[in-house]
Structure formats: C-alpha cells, structure tokens
C-alpha cells in the first residue's frame, strides 16, 4: 500500500537539491535573451519539471495506487483543456480582419 512506502532521506535531499538547482536555472534564464517566445517556454518548462518532482516525490504519487495517479492525470488533463481552449480564442482573434485593430 502507498501509505506504507517509506521514502529515504537521501531521496528527499536529492529532490530538493534538484529543486534548488532548477530555481537557480529559472533566475539565470530570466536574465538571458533567447528571443520571443523562448524565455517563456523555458521558464514554464522548468516550472512544470519542478511541479512534477514535487507531485511525484513529496506528494508520494510515484508510489500511490492507480486511482490516485488517475486523479492527478485527470487534473492535469483539465488544465490542458483550460489552456488549449482559451488559446483557441486568443490565437484566432486576428483571423477575421477587423478594421482599425
């Protein structure tokens, strides 16, 4: 059972080291100029990686049963729905030429 899985301190320390390293990477990226839109893409990529590490290791989802994993995947899926469909508005607004805009 997932609640009986004991995570070693070594795992936690490794993960937190990764998180600090990625935070440092975020700060470094913020001062670089990769050209539009790559700064945003890299920053979001780092943030997603950090969130994944927290969910998998600190929230124990890596060792959880399938239903818990399904719940996490479902939440991410709906976030994707929110972002994708919202972007379908923002990306297509210019398609219909509106005089003056």
């Amino acid at each position: 059972m997932s609640e009986h899985h004991i995570v070693t301190p070594k795992t936690y320390i490794t993960i937190i080291a990764f998180l600090f390293a990625l935070t440092a990477a975020t700060v470094w990226v913020a001062f670089q100029h990769f050209g539009d839109p790559w700064n945003d893409v890299i920053a979001i990529g780092i943030a997603l990686t950090k969130a994944t590490l927290v969910v998998l290791f600190f929230m124990h989802v890596k060792w959880s049963e399938r239903t818990t994993k399904l719940a996490v995947i479902l939440a991410v899926l709906f976030l994707v729905v929110l972002l994708l469909i919202t972007m379908s508005d923002f990306l297509t607004r210019g398609w219909l030429g509106v005089p003056g805009s």
Partner: protein, 541 residues
C-alpha cells in the same frame, strides 16, 4: 424487516446526545447536514429578500424605490448569495451529506472531521459575505466582470471575492469526502452499477467541484490583487486582458451550473422511481449521461463570451459543444418520462416537485439551446430572456429538486411526517408562482428589455407586474415549507422506516436513523430500484 422499527424511545442520531456543543462539534454526517440545512436556509432567505426588493423596484417603470447604485448592489448580492451560499451547497451539503452514506450502506462519510471543517469554512465564508454586505455590498454583478470590478468599483469586491474563495474550499472538502466514500465505503454487494442514481449524480458533481473550483480560486485571487493593488492582470490599460478573466471565471462558473443541477437530477431519478414504483428506464444511460454532462460541462464556457470580443472561430466551437450538452440532458428527461410510462404513479408532494422539475428544466434547457446559437444570442444577450433561462434551470431545476428531495427524505431526517395537504398547496404555489414570475421575462427579454437596469420603458410594465405578482406567490410557496416542516419536527406524526414503500438502503434503517446508520451492516443483493422483485409495501405518508 427493519421497516418494523418504529420505537421512538430507541437511540437515534437526534437523541443520542443533547446540548449545543453536541451539535456544534458533531462529526455525524446527519447532524452536519442539519447544520447546513439551517445555514443554507438563512442564506436563501437573505437572497430571497434581495429578490423581493428587486421585483418591488421593477413594479413600476420609473426607478422610484432605490437609486441605481443601490439596485446594482441588490442584484449582485442576490446573485452572490444565492449561487455561492445556497444553490451550490444546498443539495450536496444538505441532502447529499445526509443521504449518501445511508445510500451506500456506510456508517458515516470517509472523513467526518473534514466534513465538520467544511461546514465551518462555509460559515466563515458566509460571515465574510455578510460583513461585506453590511459594509455596502458589491455592485459588479455576481460575475465580477473586469476591468470594472478590478479597477473601478469602489465597493467591497475584495471581501466578496474572498468569501467566494473560502466557500470554494468548503465545496472541495465535501467533494473529497463524497468521492472517497463512494470509492471506499460501499456496502458489500453494492457494485458501481447497483448504486442509486443520486449517488452517481453526487459523484459526478464532486468530480466537477474538484476540477473546477481551484480555477475559480486562483481567478478570484488575481481579481483581489487587481482590485486592491491595481496590478492590472485584467486591465487593458496596463496590458492585461479582461476577456481572460471571463475565460477563467466561466471555466468554473459554467460547470458550476452542473454542480447545481446534477444533484437535483439525481434527486429526480430517485423520486420518479419511488413514485412510479419502477426501475429508472435505461439506468446505465442515465449514469453515463451524468458523467457526460460533467465532462461536456467543462468544454462550453465560451458561450458566455459570444459578444465579449471572443474570436468568432472559438465562438463557433463553443456553440457546437454547448449544443452537445443537450444530448445527455435529453437522455435524462426522456428516461424519466419513459419511467413514468405504465408505472404505478402516485402524486405525493415529492412527485409534484419532480414533475415540476421535468417540465421547467426542459424549458430552461431548450432555451439554453437558443442561447448557444451565436446569432440568436447576439440578439438576446444581457436581456431578460437570459434571466428567465437561467432561473428556469436554477430555480425551476435546482430548487424544485431540492424541495422535492427535502420532502422525500424529511421523514428519514426528522422521524416525522409533514402535513401532506399543506405540502401539496405549497408545491402548487411554487409551480404557479415560478411560472408567473419567470415566463413573462422570456417575452419581455425577447422584446428587448435589458437586465440589470432599475428603470425601463413603460411598454414593458405589464410583464414586470406579472413577474412581481408571481414572485409574491413564489415567496409564499417557499415560506410554507419553512413553517410546516419546522412544525412537523415537534407535532408531526411519527414516521415509519419506509413511509413511501421505496427501495434503497436508506429506507431499510429506522427513521430517524441511529448514529451509525444501521444496526446491522447491510448487504446489497439486488440492483437499484428493483421494484419488480419486491412485494409492494404500503405508503404511509
């Protein structure tokens, strides 16, 4: 049979402990449901009072009772209180809390302490809302559209948004409890496809709450930051986008309509089966229709943005997706009516509410298809046609379902029978009053009367007089149950375990149930609503 249990001297959840502390610190899901019942009834009364003031103002074309800014606050607080503090919690937190563990044969919900915490979080949110009200309320409309709400309104936007933010946590706690209880605590033999449709509806609702509420929470946080610190996330003058607010807000608030209506649909399935003495026609389809509504409900929010500057291409997609929701909704309506066919139909009060629901929800749903059509929506957007449409769904749907369920399970909740005569009168008043209030609004809206104005052209007065007259009848219809249900708790006849002769685990324990619901752990050996395999039990009520 447990139906023979009628001895009121035995211990039940009402007499198991006495004193105010035993109620305020209870972890019993049934007592928490009653705490919620009192709280949501108070908020319903306050929201209703605002509605009455709105209708009084609209009795005459001139804005002669309140000033425009007060009118703006009236309709905003009516919406905020009714949606966040009544319609969303009413059926899940009151009826669901009470009945779900009984229906699945559990001793309580999975997390009783979280259940109590959810109530107090709700109360904290409610107190903040009332505090905001005392300090002048808010004038933005319950939708808090930016940039007016974020940059210009000098009313209590931050406080009310905070109240909505906190109320969301209460919803999430209840939803977690329901999901885990359904997964983990079903009685032996109660397989997924033997579960009552009310349980399925609450389960689907809980999933929506879990997935959508966090988006509202973060949106309200951004709104509060914008309003108090003028950060400008939604302010075009600072490079923000007000339409983004609408996307984020409606990502929650459109599914919120299904948070309100799905539990009511679950109630109606129970009522139609019990008062037709038949298994719900196409049980599996009704289950899948609940899940489909929960899923599709997430994909349609953009139909609120047809005239907000949203891309017409996105609008077309949202229009098609919105029409798709009509399919699972229609499955439910057709299956309920098919259940009635050749059933042993009886017309006790809960069934009157159920039949009222089917008719009114059908009108509300079909006018929703009108509004999902982009061209027609451009014509009737922000008119009373929209007001009538969503009241047919929320009031004609959710409140009819809530009252039907409250009457149906009242003997189980209180251990007493309510006076059937007065209850029927009340159901009739609600139905007549509701239609008199809101049907004229379809017409006056189609003729062009905009919503959210305290004055209007004189040619619209006749419709508004009809509406206000209907509202007073409706108010009386809502007042009666408060009186006779309270009266019945002390003076009502003792209720047997199963006054309706219905099937379902909740009817196999005493009325009111013992603290841990069942004297013996129940085992389920039949499918849901197996009326055709059971000997007909007498209907006492």
């Amino acid at each position: 049979m447990s139906t023979l249990i009628t001895d009121s001297s035995r211990s039940n959840y009402l007499n198991a402990a006495y004193g105010i502390k035993s109620w305020l610190l209870t972890k019993d899901h049934k007592r928490i449901a009653l705490l919620y019942l009192v709280a949501v009834s108070i908020f319903f009364s306050v929201g209703g009072l605002f509605a009455a003031l709105i209708r009084l103002e609209l009795l005459t074309p001139e804005g002669d009772m309140v000033q425009p800014d007060i009118y703006n606050r009236l309709f905003t607080m009516h919406g905020v209180i009714m949606i966040f503090f009544f319609l969303i919690p009413a059926i899940p937190a009151v009826l669901g809390n009470f009945i779900l563990p009984l229906m699945v044969g559990a001793k309580d919900l999975a997390f009783p302490r979280i259940n109590l915490a959810s109530f107090y979080v709700y109360v904290v949110a409610g107190i903040l809302g009332v505090w905001a009200l005392i300090n002048g309320g808010v004038d933005t409309g319950w939708t808090f559209y930016t940039p007016y709400s974020s940059m210009y309104s000098n009313t209590q936007v931050t406080l009310v948004a905070m109240a909505g933010f906190i109320a969301g946590f209460s919803s999430i706690m209840t939803a977690v409890n329901f999901i885990v209880t359904v997964h983990r605590m079903r009685a032996p033999g109660l397989t997924w496809f033997r579960m009552p449709l009310m349980v399925w509806a609450l389960y689907a609702t809980s999933i929506i709450i879990m997935l959508a509420t966090p988006v509202l929470a973060i949106t309200l946080v951004m709104l509060m930051l914008d309003h108090s610190l003028h950060i400008g996330i939604f302010d075009p003058a600072q490079g923000g986008d007000p339409v983004l607010f609408q996307h984020l807000f409606w990502f929650y608030s459109h599914p919120a309509v299904y948070i309100m209506i799905l539990p009511a649909m679950g109630v109606i399935s129970e009522l139609v089966a019990a008062f037709s003495r038949k298994k719900v026609f196409g049980y599996t389809f009704v289950v899948y229709s609940s899940l489909s509504i929960a899923f599709l409900g997430f994909l349609v929010w953009g139909h609120h943005l047809f005239v907000s500057g949203q891309s017409v291409y996105a609008g077309a997609v949202f229009s098609i997706l919105s029409m798709l929701v009509a399919i699972p909704s229609a499955v439910k309506v057709f299956n309920w009516t098919a259940t009635l066919f050749q059933g042993s139909v009886s017309y006790q009060t809960p069934m009157l509410y159920a039949l009222g629901f089917i008719g009114l929800f059908t009108i509300g749903g079909l006018t929703g298809v009108f509004l999902a059509t982009m061209g027609l929506d451009t014509h009737v957007h922000d008119t009373y046609f929209v007001v009538a449409h969503f009241h047919y769904v929320m009031v004609g749907g959710t409140i009819m379902g809530y009252l039907g369920g409250l009457h149906y399970w009242w003997p189980k909740i209180s251990g007493k029978l309510y006076p059937e005569f007065w209850a029927k009168i009340s159901a009739l008043l609600v139905f007549v009053g509701f239609n008199l209030t809101f049907f004229p609004q379809f017409i006056v809206g189609y003729l062009g009367m905009p919503r959210r104005y305290h004055a209007y052209p004189p040619e619209f007065q006749v419709f508004n007089v009809l509406s206000t007259a209907g509202a007073s009848v409706l108010g009386l219809g809502y007042l009666l149950p408060i009186i006779y249900l309270t009266w019945s708790m002390r003076y009502g006849k003792k209720a047997p375990a199963n006054p309706w002769g219905a099937v379902g685990l909740e009817w196999e324990t005493a009325s009111p149930p013992p603290t841990f619901n069942f004297d013996d752990d129940p085992v389920v050996e039949h499918e849901a609503y197996d009326y055709h395999h059971r000997p007909e039990e007498p209907r006492v009520a």
